[in-house]
Symmetry: C2
Subunit: 319 residues, 2 copies
């Protein structure tokens, strides 16, 4: 029966490539991931992805596309949407890569839909995670970058070019903030992305001369009481709280879910976040906002990619 | 014919009460306004509004509600929406005033719809003004306060409590900005609202000891080269540009229309606004944003209130 067929879900980011076979209810049947191979060229990267999807399909004993309800893929932005021509900031070998067309050629005869990875994350969290049952949700990913996607009035918001939800470039410190990769100054991402926190901490004397030190190390050191680790998490939390306050006023949100590596830092991140949020979000209508770690964790993007197929009426407005 | 009946439109703000009879195409047939009477009690204020609507209906020779397609009203927020129980910040005598129910009682048998005044402004600008033909529009009012309403993906955005679009409380200077009436610090409104600009300018020596000096005087002096007037408009423009950059990243906007008294300051406001906007909104997808003065001027709110009746499929999602 058509209604029982699973979907193939794909999540393409600067850190990892992931794929899964997903049931209509959102459960992952089989899944696999590999580190994103930055040394390969564009064609080799495509073949790596193709081999990965082949593995999860084989594990689920799916041999022809018609056994699938469709293919949903989230990919790092920016992209031409809904054409699915992608130029992920953190995957330099793909520039104007026709991901959707390539997937459609590979999986002919079934729907193939590609969206921003952050939109897949918010779709996943809204469909089956922390935003379930709510109509106004911002789903964030705080990791190598800071991204986001918006559900407002119960539907995914695309915006003019399919790029709505870019909370990473909401301005939180226009005067004294660091310059951002986008060219602006004081964007949330310029302060709170993992590598920026590491650079800031090393400037404060933390693990100087260790180029391999990560934001996870920094959070771990903070959790063990290292003052620079704590200060770095406070710095990130405050920036997140200010940006979330702005977003909540603008979009009248109910839930903000935060995924990505940094979201696992716990109270040393979330306490200063809540403090800054409550210092700025004061009117009655913004006081009920809940900020929570993403309920689906690392699989939110895959579940949301499947939602592009299984709950298209809410999460897919493209052709 | 039902399709030809006009609507009664009402716009209730802290400065003025306005009413109009509006054709299905958006043209104002008759209109009138009075200063908001702050010295009257709640009941007297209601009767003032009732007399005003009576005047415009009489001028249009409308004697019974059934000659109208409906009544649309914009009112200063916050409000319980869609119940239309209003507590406008700048109209202290109305607290939990059942505006929609009172209007429905007065105009029985026809649709009566009440929304945030800023949402009416963006609905008007989208329906018949600067946002016509666009799908992603922020309509702002910069005056005694700084408000806004959002159209995204072609529909008005309500948010969790009908308060989406509150750009006045987007944070633009969290460290050094002035405290806002909302209790936060560095909100756009705390810097760019007319009275805040006047207070700042008087602190810089402009028209000290003249309590009646207005933001219009300040803009006029700026236009004639007064350095404090120019600096005040630059201060407002920069804050607006930063907040608009944040809103554009978050919502992937095409057009921002700015109405309200301050929007008439012209280049001395809009040039620093564009400068700050372009310093912060750098990624390709935000570079096409157009920021324009509201095309409908002071009547945007009335035209948008009529749109709640005539184009309800886009602008009214309440009961």
């Amino acid at each position: 029966m058509a209604g029982r067929r699973p979907a193939l879900a794909i999540d393409i980011g600067g850190t990892k490539l992931a794929a899964a076979v997903v049931e209509p209810g959102g459960r992952l049947v089989t899944w696999a991931q590999v580190p994103t191979p930055h040394s390969l060229d564009s064609g080799q990267l495509w073949r790596t992805l193709d081999a990965l999807t082949g593995r999860v399909l084989e594990a689920a004993r799916i041999t022809v596309p018609s056994e699938l309800a469709g293919v949903g893929a989230g990919c790092g932005g920016p992209m031409e949407w809904p054409a699915g021509v992608v130029s992920p900031l953190n995957i330099s070998q793909w520039r104007s890569f026709p991901l959707r067309a390539r997937l459609q050629k590979r999986f002919s005869g079934i729907p193939v839909r590609v969206h921003n990875d952050a939109i897949c994350v918010v779709a996943g969290e809204h469909w089956r995670g922390a935003g379930r049952g709510r109509s106004n949700v911002l789903g964030m990913v705080v990791s190598t970058g800071v991204g986001g996607g918006l559900i407002l009035d119960g539907r995914v918001i695309e915006g003019a070019s399919g790029n709505a939800g870019h909370i990473g470039h909401v301005v939180v410190d226009p005067e004294d903030g660091p310059v951002c990769a986008c060219g602006g100054r004081g964007c949330l991402e310029a302060i709170a992305r993992g590598p920026a926190l590491v650079a800031w901490a090393q400037g404060e004397g933390w693990r100087q001369g260790q180029p391999e030190a990560t934001a996870k190390d920094l959070a771990d050191d903070g959790a063990h009481g290292h003052p620079v680790g704590l200060a770095a998490m406070r710095r990130a939390g405050q920036a997140l709280g200010i940006a979330i306050a702005s977003a909540t006023y603008l979009c009248d949100l109910e839930v903000v879910s935060i995924g990505g590596g940094l979201s696992q830092a716990g109270a040393i991140l979330f306490e200063p976040l809540e403090e800054a949020l409550h210092a700025h979000a004061r009117l009655k209508f913004v006081r009920n906002l809940r900020v929570v770690p993403a309920a689906l964790g690392q699989s939110a993007g895959l579940v949301g990619a499947a939602a592009l197929i299984f709950a298209a009426e809410r999460y897919w407005t493209g052709d």
